[in-house]
């Protein structure tokens, strides 16, 4: 009898250890809008049953910051982004707002990015912004993961907040998606780890003092407490690769874009949370 109790206790402990979610309330509402932080995993994910937003793995204090747009420090940068979009730049004398009067017209865009364009290239939100800048505004392209790019993509992403991630992975996108999947499962670096080793096999457990998340990208660009600014998804990939002592691919490279597409597809059904708060 005693032994049975011990086993039951051990089972409960290990269950708690695996789940490891910090919050008791799983519902995230932002400014009264319900945000889906979990969804049934898409059919192509063989090893995961349910996908969870990174919000679910954060501490209560961090989670609370995201429930109120005034407390959400990402909005400092959203305001910067709105100011940038209204300011004229380049030889054509145009600003973003010259064509896109109201940022609300971008509703739904973030949920579908990255996508394959008419010339068969995989393009990200950052590519769209820089194409506009170079071809229509006659301006210098922004640094792919710079502060201006992060701020403007946060404004565009915010318009889709609450909408489910839904990227196309078939047809023209399939080859890019396959490449992203290969990268996700490829072991790299001196630590010889793939993305899956941490974010698929061990999410919910501790990595030193922090909870490992599923590595979802539905909240990017995300405000990180560690550097007090908005972080783009490619910067995050780069940071992850450095953590496993690998040589990161270039920011804005085809490899990272393919990985971005694959990761976005792993978050199908989760709400866009841009700009989210993470540690």
């Amino acid at each position: 009898m005693k032994l049975q109790n011990a086993i039951a206790a051990a089972a409960i402990l290990s269950f708690a250890g695996t789940m490891g979610f910090a919050q008791t309330d799983n519902e995230l509402t932002v400014e009264g809008q319900l945000i889906s932080t979990e969804a049934a995993a898409p059919a192509h994910m063989e090893n995961v049953g349910t996908v969870y937003s990174g919000w679910r793995f954060r501490s209560e204090e961090t989670q609370a910051m995201q429930t109120d747009d005034f407390d959400n420090s990402g909005f400092v940068f959203v305001d910067d982004g709105l100011a940038l979009m209204a300011s004229v730049d380049g030889s054509e004398g145009k600003s973003c707002a010259s064509c896109h009067e109201d940022a609300e017209e971008f509703a739904g865009l973030k949920a579908q990015m990255p996508r394959v364009n008419d010339s068969g290239e995989l393009e990200t939100l950052e590519d769209l912004v820089n194409t506009c800048r170079t071809e229509r505004m006659g301006a210098e392209p922004w640094k792919y993961n710079g502060s201006q790019m992060a701020a403007v993509t946060a404004v565009i992403g915010l318009q889709s907040r609450g909408m489910p991630v839904d990227v196309a992975i078939d047809g023209a996108a399939e080859s890019f998606w396959e490449r992203g999947k290969d990268l996700y499962y490829a072991r790299v670096g001196q630590l010889d780890l793939s993305c899956a080793n941490c974010h698929e096999d061990n999410y919910g457990t501790m990595i030193r003092a922090d909870h490992l998340s599923q590595g979802q990208i539905n909240g990017f660009p995300t405000y990180r407490l560690k550097n007090a600014k908005l972080n783009t998804v490619h910067s995050r990939f780069s940071g992850c690769m450095k953590n496993v002592r690998a040589e990161p691919y270039a920011i804005g490279s085809d490899e990272f874009k393919a990985l971005e597409l694959y990761l976005a597809s792993r978050g199908t059904g989760l709400s866009v949370e841009t700009p989210s708060i993470r540690n």
């Binding site: 005034f70 910067d80 007090a228």
Partner: protein
């Protein structure tokens, strides 16, 4: 004037007479401490918000002295009693002499 300084406050639009309301304020500011050096070893001059004042109809609610250790984008959340309808004024004083102001009205419901 430091770049991209944008004050913002959140005050309820209405309150009952005598009600205690929560006020949140944030100003985007780099809060350069004066302790750091640039790539050439020169000290980056201090540039911070050194004082924050909130007043209601001219009466001081809080008056804060900020020091160099306060981090970027200072955020203040505090409570105030609203005895009557009126205006909350918020004032931030920058090291460089700039003063940033914001006003919010509260009506009695």
């Amino acid at each position: 004037m430091a770049e991209n300084v944008r004050p913002r406050v959140r005050v309820p639009k209405t309150a009952a007479a005598g009600e205690v309301i929560t006020i949140k304020s944030l100003i985007s500011h780099k809060m350069e401490s004066g302790q750091r050096k640039d790539g050439d070893g020169n000290v980056i001059p201090r540039s911070i918000i050194n004082r924050f004042v909130c007043a209601f109809n001219g009466e001081t609610v809080i008056d804060v002295t900020l020091e160099a250790a306060v981090s970027t984008n200072p955020f203040f959340e505090f409570e105030a009693v609203v005895p009557e309808a009126g205006d909350f004024s918020f004032t931030w004083y920058d090291d460089d002499g700039s003063v940033y102001e914001e006003t919010k009205s509260v009506a009695i419901a």
